[in-house]
C-alpha cells in the first residue's frame, strides 16, 4: 500500500484474515477481531508504522486487503470510522444486527501474528 493514499489522521489499520475472512485490526503487536483493540495512529510516524505492519502481514500471507481507515475517537477512546462503508465493515450488516461483530459473532479460528 502506498503512502499517497493515506487518509487523514487519526487512522487505524484493518484487513481481512486470509484464511477466515474476518475483519481484523492491528493492535500494535497482533491482529484482533475486536475494533476496540485497534491501535490508533495520531501522527505520521505512527501511521507509517501501521503501513509497515500491513506490508509485513501481507507478505507473510496472514491477511489480505489491508488498508488505513480514518476514524474519530469516541468517549472510550476507541476509533470509530468516519466513512459509512468502514463503519459497516467494523460492525456487520446494518440489516442483520444479529450477525457479525455487532452481535459478538466472529468468524475467526486463529488470530494472526
Amino acid at each position: 500500500m502506498s503512502t499517497a493514499k493515506r487518509p487523514p489522521l487519526p487512522v487505524i489499520l484493518l484487513a481481512n484474515d486470509l484464511l477466515d475472512g474476518e475483519v481484523v485490526f492491528w493492535t500494535g503487536t497482533h491482529w484482533s477481531p475486536e475494533p476496540k483493540d485497534a491501535r490508533i495512529a495520531h501522527d505520521d510516524a505512527s501511521a507509517t508504522a501501521l503501513e509497515g505492519a500491513a506490508a509485513k502481514a501481507l507478505s507473510a500471507n496472514v491477511v489480505v486487503d489491508a488498508y488505513l481507515v480514518d476514524i474519530t475517537t469516541d468517549a472510550n477512546g476507541h476509533g470509530v470510522p468516519n466513512h459509512y462503508r468502514e463503519k459497516i465493515k467494523t460492525e456487520g450488516p446494518s440489516v442483520r444486527r444479529d450477525l457479525g461483530k455487532q452481535a459478538g459473532l466472529y468468524n475467526i479460528v486463529r488470530s494472526g501474528t
Binding site: 481481512n16 486470509l18 484464511l19 477466515d20 475472512g21 474476518e22 475483519v23 501481507l58 500471507n61 489480505v64 486487503d65 468516519n82 466513512h83 459509512y84 462503508r85 459497516i88 465493515k89 456487520g92 450488516p93 446494518s94 440489516v95 442483520r96 450477525l99 457479525g100 461483530k101 459473532l105 468468524n107 479460528v109
Partner: protein, 555 residues
Amino acid sequence: MYRYDEFDARLVRERVAQFRDQVARRLDGSLSEDEFKPLRLKNGVYLQLHAYMLRIAVPYGTLSSRQLRQLALIGEKYDRGYGHFTTRTNMQFNWPRLRDVPEILDLLADVEMHCIQTSGNCIRNVTADHFAGIAADEIEDPRPTAELIRQWSSLHPEFDYLPRKFKIAVTGAEHDRAVVRAHDIGLRILRNAKGEIGYEVMVGGGLGRTPMIAKTIRSFLPKADLLAYLEAVLRVYNLEGRRDNKYKARVKIMVHEIGAEEFARRVEAEFARLDGPAIAADPEEVARIAAYFASPAYETLPARASGFEAAKAENRAFATWASVNLFTHKVPGYAAAVISLKGIGDAPGDITSAQMRVVADLAETYSLDELRITHAQNIVLPYVKKDDLFVVSQTLVEVGLATANAGLITDIIACPGLDYCSLATARSIPIAQALAHRFADEKRQLEIGELNIKISGCINACGHHHVGHIGILGLEKSGQESYQITLGGDATETAAIGEILGPGVPADDVPDAIERIVSVYLAQRTSGETFIEAVRRLGLAPFKAAFLEKTHAPA
C-alpha cells in the same frame, strides 16, 4: 433435469482437489494474492466486506430437492443459516471461511453441484427462462442448449482468461423471461421458414457502467453450428476485446466501438475458418442431454380443477395468492407456483436453511422433485397440480413464504449492496425494505399492478436497475448514500435502458419519490394500461416533474 455421468462427476471432483491444492499453495506463498485471486474467483470465492462469500452455480436456475437440502445443510454448518439467491440464479453464502471452502465444494459435488466459473474473467453460469419446459409460448426448451453450453464453457482452455466476464442466456419462448438482450451473448430459439429450429444470436448486451442492449449478429444459426459459432465469437473477443481499461473490456464496448456489422463480419470470418464439425457435439450427445429435459409424465387432468376453485372461493388470501403468484402451465390442470422471497421487510432473495428444507419437501411431494430459481430472486415450483395448490400455499404460509406479490411493486430485485458487498457504494436492502413497507397494502399493490423496481448498490448493476420499470442506483455523494432513480427500463423482449429522472436523493426520501412517480401513473393511466405502457405513452416529462417536486418540507 440433467444428471452427471462419470465424466461430469470426475471433472467436478478433480476441480475440488485442484482448489484445495491452490489454497495450500496460496498459504505457502507459491501463489501471490494477485495470482490466487482469479483462481478463487473462478471457484466462486469473493472477499466481501465482513467475510469471504461463496457463489454456487445453479445452472439455468434448475435445482432438485436434494440439492436444495444440501444448500440448507451448508448454510447451517458453514454459514449463518441462510443463503441469498442472485439475479443470475446463483446462491451466495455470506460467511464461509476460506479454510472450509474445499469441504463445502465436496458437499456440493456430492449432489452434482459446483462453483465453477461463477466469477472471474471467463464464461459465467448460463441462465435460461425459469419457465422452461412449461410455458405455452415456447418453441423449444432452452435447457438442453444451456446445459450443452455449460459443459462446453467449463474449463475451456482457450477462454478462461478473457478480457472480462462473459455471460450467456438462452430463451426458447416468444416472451423473453431471461433478459437475453442484457447479456454478452443472448440466444433465442426460433423456427425458420423451412420449419427448422435454430438460434437468433445477439451479442454485446450488458448492464454495469455502460448499459447496452445486445444486437443481433445472426438471425438464424442452425442448431448444429452452435458451439463452433460460440467459439468464433469468443475467439474474436479474446483476441480483440479491449484489455487496457477494465471498464471498457466487456464485449459490449467492442461491439459498440466497431459496430455490430463489423463484429459480425469478423465472427463469420473466424467461423468459416473453424472446423465446425470437429467442435460440435455429435447428435447422439445432443440427444443424450435433451433426454434429461423430456416432458415428465403428466396426468390427464381437467382444465378446471374443482378442488382449486373451491379453495379459492373459501379462502380469500389463497385466492389472492393464486391470482398473483401462479403462471399458466402448458398442461391442463397444472400450474407453476412462484414462491416469493420478497416478504414485506425481508432482504430480497434471502432464504433460511429451515425455509429451504420446507420448499425442498414441497417440491419433492408436489412438483416432481424440481424447483427453479428466477432472475427476479424468487423460486418456482414448476409442476404443481392445481388441486394441490391450496396445501402447498398453506405450508408456505407457515414459513412466511406465501407473500402474494410476484411481479408487483414489492417484488423488488436488490443486490446485497453495502451491507455485504465490498464493491458497493451504498446499501440496497434497506431501500427495498422501506419500499416494501410503504407499498405493503395488498389491495393497493394489486391496484398498481405489474411494476418492477430494481435496486443496485453500485454501478456494476447486479440489481439490474437499468432494466427496472423503476431503477434505483445507490451511489456515494459527499460522504453520504445517495440514490439515483431511473424510469422506463424493460427486461423483456422489448428491452430498454431506463432514463435518469434527476439528481440523487437521500435514502429517507426514496419512498416518497417512488410514491410521486406511481401517483402520476395512477392518475393518468387508461383502462388496463400497465405502468410501463403508461411510461412509454406519456414519456418521461410528467414523471420527471413529479419526481422533482418536493412533497415534504425541507429539513
